[in-house]
């Protein structure tokens, strides 16, 4: 429905959008998320031609938007701007009916639209239609902003942090409303936020942007399970662990900060590092960084010879697991085995981290009772 093809944009010498390509399907609720300044608003505004790409094409229903009349294009796309943008000189009714009037709807028609829409958000026509924006609460203004975008039933609605400035309770309520409206009216919605909770709650698809690029475009479930980068993980923060214990994967519960040493390291040096890290075992790597095995402190104490390499003492007894394993499955393994930890391997047999009894218990605890933060 909406297709971006190699779209780039610079302001001055700053590249704001870097060769963006993606597609939004009809009827989807798509959320653009990412850190401040990453280009979300710019991307959004390109869809209704408020911002012109330097290069690349944007198609809506197969038609290049640059070949359309911008005014007509915009009348077919609802738009809720970052700061609400209700016209203060117009009443609620006038604000909502702006676009229908521009489209020359007869009076009865736009009046009934205003009535219907106000009803939908539980703001009775008699009470609110003739109020001015300054006479409404922030939440009510946001609602009217959304209604104004919906008034001419555009198939596409763009929303730029529509609930940014609201208290959590009002925001929750409005999110519910918008989600319901979208399902009921089958709109394609492109929605900008930098609140991951909002994104997870509303989106069919989340587009994660950073520095003018898309880092990941995926369903909320997929993004939770497989965040494509650290910054996405950071954004998800506690949500990553806020799933039930049954949905936890090894990678969710592993520790990534572990002591890894090359095979060729001298025994004394290795002892020294273990001492500094305060650990009594160490993961040993082959030259190509793949997993070679582990060495326990006891092994060094019993068989270690000064000047020899640690690789000679490697044992492969410690069980290894893949990072995509269910946490549940490794729990038994961990409890049964004589080892206090399991080594987690990536698909290419490099070391991703390890799971200790403590790290696993902690993750399960968080999943059951929520993070402590």
């Amino acid at each position: 429905m909406i297709t971006f093809q190699n779209v780039s944009k610079s302001y001055g010498r700053k590249l704001v959008l870097d060769n963006l390509s993606f597609e939004i399907k009809e009827g989807q609720f798509v959320i653009l998320i990412g850190p401040s300044g990453c280009g979300k608003t710019t991307t959004l505004k390109m869809i209704n031609r408020l911002v012109k790409p330097d290069s690349g094409e944007i198609y809506i229903n197969g038609i290049n938007i640059m070949e359309q009349n911008p005014v007509e294009l915009r009348r077919g796309i609802g738009y809720v701007i970052q700061q609400i943008g209700l016209f203060p000189n117009m009443t609620v009714e006038q604000n909502i009916s702006v676009v229908p009037k521009l489209l020359k709807y007869p009076k009865e028609r736009w009046q009934s639209i205003v009535r219907e829409l106000l009803e939908m958000v539980n703001m009775p026509y008699e009470e609110y239609a003739h109020k001015y924006p300054s006479e409404l609460s922030g939440g009510q203004q946001q609602r009217i902003g959304v209604l104004r975008a919906l008034a001419a039933s555009p198939p596409i609605v763009l929303m730029d942090e529509p609930f940014g400035a609201l208290d959590p309770i009002t925001r929750d309520a409005l999110q519910e409303e918008v989600k319901k409206l979208q399902k009921k009216l089958k709109k394609t919605i492109v929605f900008v936020t930098h609140d991951m909770e909002e994104a997870l709650r509303l989106a069919d698809t989340i587009v994660f942007m950073d520095n003018g690029r898309i880092l990941q475009m995926a369903s909320p479930e997929e993004m939770l399970r497989n965040p494509a980068s650290d910054i996405i993980k950071e954004f998800m923060g506690r949500h990553i662990n806020s799933r039930g214990p049954a949905e936890l994967y090894v990678e969710d519960v592993m520790r990534t900060r572990v002591l890894k040493v090359p095979k060729t390291l001298k025994v004394l040096e290795c002892l020294d590092r273990m001492d500094r890290w305060e650990v009594n075992s160490v993961i040993v790597l082959n030259e190509d960084d793949t997993y070679a095995g582990t060495v326990q402190l006891e092994a060094i104490q019993e068989h270690g010879k000064v000047g020899h390499e640690i690789g000679e003492l490697v044992s492969q007894d410690t069980p290894t697991v893949s990072r995509q394993c269910k946490a549940q499955e490794v729990l038994d393994q961990l409890l049964d085995s004589p080892y206090k930890y399991l080594v987690v391997l990536n698909d290419d047999r490099t070391v991703a981290g390890l799971i200790t009894r403590t790290s696993l218990t902690k993750a399960i605890g968080e999943a059951l009772w929520g993070a402590k933060s």
């Binding site: 915009r74 001015y132 300054s134």
Partner: protein, 216 residues
Amino acid sequence: MNFIEFVGRNRAVILSSLAQHIYLVCISVFAGILVSIPAGILLSRHKKAAEKILAVVGIVQTIPGLVMLGIALLLFGVGNTPALVVLSVYSILPILRNTYTGLTEVQLGLIEAGYGIGMTSSQLLFKVQLPLALPSIISGIRISTVYIVSWAALAALIGAGGLGDLIWTGLSTYNTNFILAGAIPSAILAFLFSGLIGAVQRLATPRGLREVKHDE
């Protein structure tokens, strides 16, 4: 002869001077409005040029009234025309400046919202920008009017009549009564015009703005 008697005796002259004065003020402010509002709209769309043009207009404004009258006299001869031209020129700046600021102070978000939902730039102007700038524009008109009421007194010097006639007569004959008969009505006139336009301004302020801006 005291002042009251003087007024009684010269009622006809004073009233006709007053009428002429009001005429001069109204016509020139009206002309000023006709020029400055479209010009202000134009300037608001060319912000870079605007600052410079406003500065130039500001300089014109500081040319002493007498010099301007002299020039006008040379160009148009004696009578109403040169006076009206000069007064109109003087009335431009406050209205122009206020139109410009009123329009440019409309929040960027509103303009973006307007374009974003598919308004053309003239729809945006008439439905959003001008209504929102109206209070500021009217206040410019108010400043201009009060200004012109006093400037118009100079017009008598080039034969345009008005209350200035009485004042200049008084000044040249050392007759206080004449001076007062010119000065007092023009003070009252300025006061009334100001009050009247103030009332219009309040009426013209969109209700949605009144609550926010002036919580009286």
